[in-house]
């Protein structure tokens, strides 16, 4: 996994609450069997007019000042709905490295950490202020530092954020979860040895 240490970039505002994963990446694009190439379909139904090609000029992220943005600032409960990991894949493929919101849905939040995408939880007022700044000052940039757990704009804004220490550690070093778990082989085998015999699974008892 790609490690995340620090990101400095343009901030794009998406001033909506409850942005669900169906909006982030609509179902017709879930049929790809690869992890890559989802960026062009990010926010598809909002981003393009009904012809599916012409960018909708009313959609925030289509404004020229937010091209190349790497930090998305948005409303509460971002990523709710389906467990599709295609959502963080699409956000990453589009170019985002950080999502800042007052809250995230659990499964989406978890999926971000598996892909080197940093979700930052900040208080609602703080997020609101960042959205206003990103709107008022096109090209507004932030630096998000995972090591220091800070969000700064080099001027007035200097905010700390909380993050689970284990998640932080894995993200900073781009650790492969599976490799880590396979090191616990002895514990896993010991657990399996003490599982009740009636938890047989699907190979036995086949109808």
């Amino acid at each position: 996994m790609q490690p995340f240490v620090r990101e400095t970039g343009v901030v794009a505002p998406l001033d909506r609450v409850n942005v669900d994963t169906d909006q982030i990446i609509p179902k017709q694009f879930l049929k790809r069997i690869e992890r890559t190439g989802f960026g062009p379909f990010l926010f598809f139904d909002w981003r393009y007019l009904s012809d599916g090609q012409t960018p909708d000029p009313n959609f925030e992220l289509n404004a020229p000042e937010y091209r190349g943005a790497t930090i998305l600032v948005t409303g509460r409960n971002f990523g709710c709905g389906s467990s599709r990991e295609h959502a963080p894949w699409a956000l990453m493929d589009y170019g985002f490295r950080v999502i800042i919101a007052p809250s995230f849905a659990d499964i989406f939040y978890n999926n971000c950490f598996k892909n080197g995408l940093l979700p930052v939880v900040l208080p609602e007022d703080t997020v609101r202020a960042l959205i206003e700044k990103a709107r008022a000052q096109p090209g507004y940039r932030l630096t998000v530092d995972l090591e220091a757990q800070t969000v700064c704009d080099g001027e007035a804004v200097q905010i700390s954020f909380e993050i689970d220490p284990f998640r932080k550690h894995c993200l900073l070093h781009g650790l492969d979860d599976i490799g880590l778990t396979l090191q616990q082989e002895a514990d896993i085998a010991a657990y399996e040895a003490r599982r009740p015999p009636w938890k047989r699974g699907v190979m036995q008892n086949v109808p």
Partner: protein, 466 residues
């Protein structure tokens, strides 16, 4: 120290625990489908890893399968490619697959319980958020992303931080025409779509105890729509009777041993929850959503709200956007909203009891000429059983289309989708923008409410049809 059911199941599955880290949990059952698994199998191949426990892993095809004639080839080449990938992956890694034409095929959350794979006290995961359904049996069941699917395939374990616990107690008794779907919609209306984020919900109270297993599955299914990764209901005699004798359920001496353990799972008296919510079941009316989030819901006797009724600016704007998308004006009585389509099915409401309840309403009546209505059983077995009971004839005589099993119009990955602007009463779980097709407008309802709406041509209070 008295423990909640969540704590008991959790503690029984900890493989490794150290301070400052999530726990490593063992997974008893891993369910797989065609959409969220291909990249996980690719990951295994790339790193030369095997599936640790193919015997605890079961796959089916549900999300993008056609619900029309199964003897024909799958028309959509991309869907076909995804189904073929699952078939290849299961063959290569030795995983049991209930293929498109297998009599055991169906929506993953319908077939788990119906085959007896889902059992109390288990940890169950699937690359699908509605895995919460299996919590109805007192199993800790939650949705995971594709990276975690790969992790479970390789290790049969997951790193998880212990969630907080929330008790939602529903007292009293439900009135005529009020179903499990209305209970969960009322709960989401009360606590909001992020009301239980970070929690596992345990549903308790007389109303929950009185629900059938099917009803309990409907409630747990939509826990995710309240933000909870999992919902739990304590197993009881009803649960045990449901599981007993199913193909993969323990048998003989194993059954007795399992039962003895399952009887210890309930939350101990005096155990503490991190949060508690109480509802009076006798006050719950049939519910229907008006907006683009399951929390945007009112009783069928109500009206479309006005954005001014919301206190926060964010919610006001969300309501304005939703009304525009849904093509609705504030204060419109819900029962005056006309429909183009009706969908009965999904992992929320595609079980035999749901079809019986809908058929009861449809019996001897006719679908409104302006409405196109389809019934999609949750599994091939549900379809067979419904046909044995003659439900298919009732639906067909009333003018409903009777389809093959799958996820279908719940998420519209197969050809069953709404056209832009079409309005649908749906027994599914999500009314998100575009969920059932770009520009499609979804109103979530219970199966009897959906059947009544199909006949009336507009949303209607099924209680008036007593």
């Amino acid at each position: 120290m008295p423990k909640t059911m969540l704590e008991k199941i959790w503690d029984a599955h900890v493989v490794r625990s150290e301070p400052g880290r999530p726990d490593l949990l063992y997974i008893d059952l891993h369910l797989i489908h065609e959409v969220t698994s291909p990249q996980a199998f690719d990951g295994l191949r790339l790193s030369g890893r095997r599936v640790r426990r193919p015997d605890l892993t079961v796959a089916t095809m549900d999300h993008n399968v056609p619900t029309t004639d199964r003897s024909l080839p799958v028309a959509d080449p991309i869907s076909k490619r995804q189904m073929e990938a699952l078939e290849r992956n299961c063959a290569e890694f030795g995983i049991t697959l209930f293929h498109l034409r297998d009599p055991r095929q169906g929506i993953v959350h319908v077939i788990g319980p119906e085959l007896g794979l889902t059992q109390p006290g288990m940890t169950i995961v699937c690359g699908d958020s509605h895995t919460s359904t299996h919590g109805a049996f007192g199993a800790l069941a939650f949705g995971i992303g594709t990276s975690e699917v790969e992790h479970v395939l390789a290790t049969q374990c997951l790193w998880q931080s212990r969630p907080k616990t929330m008790e939602i107690r529903v007292d009293g008794t439900l009135g005529y025409g009020v179903t499990a779907k209305d209970v969960i919609l009322a709960i989401i209306g009360r606590i909001g779509t992020d009301g239980a984020t970070g929690y596992v919900i345990e549903y308790t109270g007389e109303v929950i105890r009185a629900l059938s297993m099917e009803g309990r599955m409907t409630v747990c299914n939509m826990s995710i729509e309240a933000g909870a990764r999992a919902g739990l209901i304590a197993p009881d005699e009803k649960t045990f009777a449901y599981v007993k004798g199913r193909p993969y359920a323990p048998q003989g001496a194993d059954w007795e041993a399992a039962l003895a353990e399952w009887r210890t799972l309930s939350t101990d008296p005096g155990a503490r929850f991190d949060a508690q919510v109480t509802l009076d079941g006798s006050e719950i009316a049939p519910h229907v959503t008006w907006g683009t989030s399951p929390g945007m819901v009112v009783p069928i006797t109500g009206c479309v709200p006005s954005p001014e009724e919301f206190t926060s600016e964010a919610d006001r704007r969300a309501a304005e956007r939703a009304l525009e998308y849904m093509g609705l004006m504030p204060h419109t009585p819900m029962q005056s909203i006309k429909l183009d389509r009706v969908f009965i099915g999904s992992c929320t409401n595609g079980r035999i009891e749901d079809l019986r309840a809908a058929a009861e309403v449809a019996r001897g009546r006719k679908v409104h000429p302006d409405v196109h209505a389809i019934v999609v059983p949750g599994s091939t077995q549900v379809r067979r059983q419904a046909e044995q009971e003659g439900l298919d004839r009732i639906f067909k005589e009333a003018g409903f289309e009777w389809r093959e099993a799958g996820c279908s119009m719940c998420l519209g990955m197969n050809p069953d989708i709404l056209r832009p602007g079409e309005r649908c009463a749906s027994t599914s779980n999500r009314n998100f923008e575009g969920r059932q097709g770009r520009g499609g407008r979804t109103h979530l309802v219970s199966p009897p409410m959906a059947a009544a709406a199909a006949i009336a041509g507009h949303l209607v209070d099924v209680r008036d049809w007593k």
